[in-house]
Amino acid sequence: MGADIGPDRTCLKHSECAGEALTKLLASLFESDVHRADDSGEGLDDGSVAGVVSLIGDVEWSLWLGLPRETAVAIASAFAEDEIEFDSEEMGDAVGELTNMLAGDLKARLSRVDLQTTISLPSVVSGERLRVMTTRDTPRERMRFSSSFGPLWVEVAAGVREGETRAAGS
């Protein structure tokens, strides 16, 4: 058997920008410090609400923002300056907006390294112990953080290498 080379991760070259964007977003919205947390532990995810948005152009990324229940309630309530319940439509609204802002900052960072992208509308999923499932060969980078609101994570999953475009019909 040959060595398992694994997926080509060159398309994730700038994925650390996502973590930088999250740090800046929470600092500017809430003056909240965010710290990188232990990245170990694949397996079932602990996020209960997650926003996802695509950045398409010179990169082809899916960007996820994952919030466990308690973190989600705390952040959404701080964002709205009002109590937001976990199972409310407003939770989806808040997480969608936060994901949108995160993507906007990430887009700006990528453009500074000459990578131009367009952002999709965000979607939000919620449930107990969400699991982000991609094909095995999809390069992914998950970054876990701790904050004054609780733990949270961002993930970038990449479709194609930077500078390449997907062939029509593929």
Binding site: L25, S28, L29, F79, A80, E81, D82, E90, D93, A94, G96, E97, N100, M101, A103, G104, D105, K107, A108, S111, I119, L121
Partner: protein
């Protein structure tokens, strides 16, 4: 003098944030009307007069810039329009939007000071 402001954003939370922070700027007294999409906003515009319109750029069905273009197509006097966007300046796009009638930008996320700085020139002209 109270300024009537139409706030257009598919996110109810963002509409409330815009209204809350604009009130806190101290730029004046405001009376707000909300619309969750461009179509409803155009209907509101036909029903009543507004002094200022704040519209989100990234909305489903009708984007903010499409709304601005349709607003202008209706003819007559239209109030100043400020675009709320997460995206930082893209010069070519901004020029096209200014040509379409966008007169100011508010970039999310924004503080009270930032929305004040973005909208003060427009609002001061309105109350003068």
């Amino acid at each position: 003098m109270s300024l009537r402001v139409l706030v257009v954003d598919d996110s109810a939370i963002m509409r409330r944030m815009v209204m809350r922070k604009l009130k806190r700027t101290g730029l004046g007294e405001f009376e707000f009307v909300e619309a969750g999409n461009g179509r409803d906003a155009l209907e509101e515009f036909v029903r009543q007069a507004f002094d200022l319109i704040l519209v989100d750029w990234n909305m489903p069905a009708m984007t903010g810039i499409e709304f601005v273009r349709r607003l202008r197509e209706q003819g007559g006097t239209t109030p100043p329009v400020a675009m709320i966007t997460t995206e930082k300046t893209v010069a070519a796009r901004r020029q096209a939007e200014k040509d379409a009638g966008v007169q100011a930008y508010v970039t999310k996320p924004f503080t009270v000071e930032e929305i004040k700085a973005s909208l003060a020139p427009l609002i001061e002209r309105l109350v003068a």
